[in-house]
Assembly symmetry: C2
Homo-oligomer: 105 residues x 2
Protein backbone atom coordinates (compact mmCIF):
# COMPACT_ATOMS: atom_id res chain seq x y z
CA UNK A 1 0.00 0.00 0.00
CA UNK A 2 1.52 3.32 -1.09
CA UNK A 3 1.54 6.02 1.60
CA UNK A 4 -0.64 8.99 0.76
CA UNK A 5 -0.08 12.55 1.99
CA UNK A 6 -2.08 13.30 5.14
CA UNK A 7 -3.84 16.18 3.41
CA UNK A 8 -5.35 13.67 0.97
CA UNK A 9 -7.01 11.80 3.84
CA UNK A 10 -10.75 12.06 3.29
CA UNK A 11 -12.67 12.05 6.56
CA UNK A 12 -15.90 11.67 4.58
CA UNK A 13 -14.88 8.12 3.69
CA UNK A 14 -15.00 7.03 7.33
CA UNK A 15 -18.11 5.02 8.20
CA UNK A 16 -19.82 7.05 10.94
CA UNK A 17 -21.46 3.95 12.40
CA UNK A 18 -18.03 2.44 13.08
CA UNK A 19 -16.25 5.72 13.86
CA UNK A 20 -18.29 6.65 16.94
CA UNK A 21 -15.90 6.09 19.86
CA UNK A 22 -18.05 3.66 21.87
CA UNK A 23 -19.11 1.78 18.72
CA UNK A 24 -15.50 1.49 17.57
CA UNK A 25 -14.66 0.12 21.01
CA UNK A 26 -17.45 -2.46 20.69
CA UNK A 27 -16.47 -3.55 17.17
CA UNK A 28 -12.77 -3.77 18.08
CA UNK A 29 -13.57 -5.81 21.15
CA UNK A 30 -15.72 -8.19 19.12
CA UNK A 31 -13.01 -8.49 16.45
CA UNK A 32 -10.67 -9.75 19.14
CA UNK A 33 -13.03 -11.70 21.36
CA UNK A 34 -15.54 -12.96 18.75
CA UNK A 35 -18.51 -12.51 21.03
CA UNK A 36 -19.24 -10.71 24.28
CA UNK A 37 -22.03 -10.31 26.76
CA UNK A 38 -23.43 -6.91 27.65
CA UNK A 39 -21.81 -6.76 31.10
CA UNK A 40 -18.35 -7.59 29.74
CA UNK A 41 -18.65 -4.85 27.12
CA UNK A 42 -19.85 -2.39 29.72
CA UNK A 43 -16.87 -3.11 31.97
CA UNK A 44 -14.44 -2.98 29.07
CA UNK A 45 -15.77 0.32 27.74
CA UNK A 46 -16.48 1.84 31.16
CA UNK A 47 -19.77 3.27 29.98
CA UNK A 48 -23.30 3.40 31.34
CA UNK A 49 -26.00 0.84 30.70
CA UNK A 50 -28.04 3.36 28.74
CA UNK A 51 -25.17 4.61 26.61
CA UNK A 52 -24.06 1.09 25.70
CA UNK A 53 -27.64 0.15 24.81
CA UNK A 54 -27.97 3.13 22.48
CA UNK A 55 -24.76 2.28 20.62
CA UNK A 56 -25.54 -1.44 20.41
CA UNK A 57 -28.92 -0.45 18.98
CA UNK A 58 -27.24 1.63 16.27
CA UNK A 59 -24.88 -1.21 15.39
CA UNK A 60 -27.79 -3.66 15.29
CA UNK A 61 -29.79 -1.29 13.08
CA UNK A 62 -26.87 -1.09 10.64
CA UNK A 63 -26.70 -4.89 10.61
CA UNK A 64 -23.20 -4.87 12.12
CA UNK A 65 -24.04 -6.91 15.24
CA UNK A 66 -26.71 -9.30 16.40
CA UNK A 67 -28.08 -9.19 19.93
CA UNK A 68 -29.37 -12.37 21.51
CA UNK A 69 -31.34 -12.02 24.71
CA UNK A 70 -31.72 -14.99 27.07
CA UNK A 71 -32.93 -15.46 30.62
CA UNK A 72 -30.26 -17.07 32.81
CA UNK A 73 -31.66 -17.80 36.26
CA UNK A 74 -33.54 -14.65 37.19
CA UNK A 75 -31.46 -12.38 34.99
CA UNK A 76 -31.55 -11.48 31.37
CA UNK A 77 -28.32 -11.86 29.52
CA UNK A 78 -27.54 -10.20 26.17
CA UNK A 79 -24.92 -11.73 23.94
CA UNK A 80 -23.44 -9.56 21.18
CA UNK A 81 -21.92 -10.96 17.99
CA UNK A 82 -20.37 -9.14 15.04
CA UNK A 83 -22.00 -10.05 11.73
CA UNK A 84 -20.06 -10.61 8.49
CA UNK A 85 -21.31 -7.18 7.37
CA UNK A 86 -19.99 -5.64 10.57
CA UNK A 87 -16.62 -7.33 10.19
CA UNK A 88 -16.37 -6.04 6.62
CA UNK A 89 -17.27 -2.52 7.76
CA UNK A 90 -14.64 -2.60 10.50
CA UNK A 91 -12.03 -3.87 8.04
CA UNK A 92 -12.82 -1.04 5.58
CA UNK A 93 -12.64 1.48 8.41
CA UNK A 94 -9.29 0.15 9.60
CA UNK A 95 -7.92 0.25 6.03
CA UNK A 96 -8.82 3.94 5.78
CA UNK A 97 -7.26 4.62 9.16
CA UNK A 98 -4.15 2.66 8.19
CA UNK A 99 -3.60 5.10 5.31
CA UNK A 100 -3.82 8.03 7.70
CA UNK A 101 -1.44 6.33 10.12
CA UNK A 102 1.02 5.68 7.28
CA UNK A 103 0.79 9.23 6.03
CA UNK A 104 1.43 10.66 9.50
CA UNK A 105 3.68 7.90 10.86
CA UNK B 1 5.83 -1.62 18.62
CA UNK B 2 4.33 -4.93 19.71
CA UNK B 3 0.88 -5.71 18.29
CA UNK B 4 -1.82 -5.89 20.91
CA UNK B 5 -5.02 -7.95 20.64
CA UNK B 6 -7.91 -5.90 19.27
CA UNK B 7 -9.98 -6.60 22.39
CA UNK B 8 -7.36 -4.71 24.42
CA UNK B 9 -7.98 -1.56 22.35
CA UNK B 10 -9.29 1.06 24.74
CA UNK B 11 -11.63 3.48 23.00
CA UNK B 12 -11.55 5.68 26.11
CA UNK B 13 -7.95 6.58 25.33
CA UNK B 14 -8.95 8.30 22.09
CA UNK B 15 -8.97 12.07 22.36
CA UNK B 16 -12.55 13.09 21.54
CA UNK B 17 -11.46 16.48 20.28
CA UNK B 18 -9.33 14.83 17.58
CA UNK B 19 -11.62 11.84 16.99
CA UNK B 20 -14.63 13.82 15.73
CA UNK B 21 -14.76 13.09 12.00
CA UNK B 22 -14.64 16.66 10.73
CA UNK B 23 -12.02 17.64 13.31
CA UNK B 24 -9.87 14.65 12.37
CA UNK B 25 -10.17 15.72 8.75
CA UNK B 26 -9.04 19.25 9.66
CA UNK B 27 -6.07 18.08 11.77
CA UNK B 28 -4.97 15.56 9.12
CA UNK B 29 -5.19 18.21 6.41
CA UNK B 30 -3.12 20.63 8.48
CA UNK B 31 -0.55 17.92 9.25
CA UNK B 32 0.01 17.54 5.52
CA UNK B 33 -0.46 21.09 4.34
CA UNK B 34 0.87 22.99 7.37
CA UNK B 35 -1.72 25.74 7.10
CA UNK B 36 -5.00 26.24 5.29
CA UNK B 37 -7.59 28.90 4.77
CA UNK B 38 -11.23 28.39 5.67
CA UNK B 39 -12.44 28.00 2.08
CA UNK B 40 -9.82 25.37 1.24
CA UNK B 41 -10.79 23.34 4.32
CA UNK B 42 -14.45 23.66 3.47
CA UNK B 43 -13.88 22.38 -0.07
CA UNK B 44 -11.64 19.57 1.14
CA UNK B 45 -14.08 18.41 3.82
CA UNK B 46 -17.23 19.09 1.79
CA UNK B 47 -19.01 20.56 4.80
CA UNK B 48 -21.09 23.64 5.46
CA UNK B 49 -19.77 26.97 6.61
CA UNK B 50 -21.54 26.63 9.95
CA UNK B 51 -20.40 23.08 10.61
CA UNK B 52 -16.78 23.88 9.83
CA UNK B 53 -16.94 26.97 12.08
CA UNK B 54 -18.24 24.91 14.99
CA UNK B 55 -15.46 22.34 14.69
CA UNK B 56 -12.73 24.94 14.21
CA UNK B 57 -14.06 26.63 17.33
CA UNK B 58 -13.72 23.40 19.32
CA UNK B 59 -10.18 22.87 18.06
CA UNK B 60 -9.28 26.47 18.90
CA UNK B 61 -10.80 26.11 22.37
CA UNK B 62 -8.65 23.02 22.99
CA UNK B 63 -5.59 24.97 21.85
CA UNK B 64 -5.05 22.64 18.87
CA UNK B 65 -5.31 25.31 16.16
CA UNK B 66 -5.00 29.06 15.86
CA UNK B 67 -7.36 31.07 13.69
CA UNK B 68 -6.12 34.28 12.14
CA UNK B 69 -8.71 36.56 10.58
CA UNK B 70 -7.72 39.17 8.01
CA UNK B 71 -9.55 41.39 5.56
CA UNK B 72 -8.36 40.84 2.00
CA UNK B 73 -10.00 43.33 -0.36
CA UNK B 74 -13.66 43.30 0.70
CA UNK B 75 -13.57 39.77 2.09
CA UNK B 76 -12.52 38.33 5.38
CA UNK B 77 -10.10 35.47 5.19
CA UNK B 78 -9.44 32.99 8.00
CA UNK B 79 -6.15 31.15 8.11
CA UNK B 80 -5.95 28.01 10.24
CA UNK B 81 -2.69 26.68 11.72
CA UNK B 82 -2.09 23.62 13.87
CA UNK B 83 -0.33 24.46 17.16
CA UNK B 84 2.44 22.32 18.69
CA UNK B 85 -0.16 21.09 21.19
CA UNK B 86 -2.48 20.10 18.35
CA UNK B 87 0.31 18.30 16.50
CA UNK B 88 1.15 16.37 19.67
CA UNK B 89 -2.51 15.46 20.17
CA UNK B 90 -2.83 14.23 16.59
CA UNK B 91 0.37 12.18 16.97
CA UNK B 92 -0.92 10.55 20.18
CA UNK B 93 -4.24 9.81 18.47
CA UNK B 94 -2.53 8.26 15.45
CA UNK B 95 -0.33 6.13 17.74
CA UNK B 96 -3.44 4.71 19.44
CA UNK B 97 -5.06 4.08 16.07
CA UNK B 98 -1.88 2.44 14.77
CA UNK B 99 -2.15 -0.14 17.55
CA UNK B 100 -5.70 -0.90 16.53
CA UNK B 101 -4.69 -1.15 12.87
CA UNK B 102 -1.84 -3.51 13.81
CA UNK B 103 -4.11 -5.65 15.95
CA UNK B 104 -6.69 -5.98 13.19
CA UNK B 105 -4.36 -5.80 10.18
Amino acid sequence: MKPEPADRFDANELDDVVHGRVRLGIMAYLAGAGTADFVTLQEHLRTTNGNLSVHLGKLEEAGYVTLERAIVGKRSRTTVCATAKGQTALRAYVERMAKLVQALG
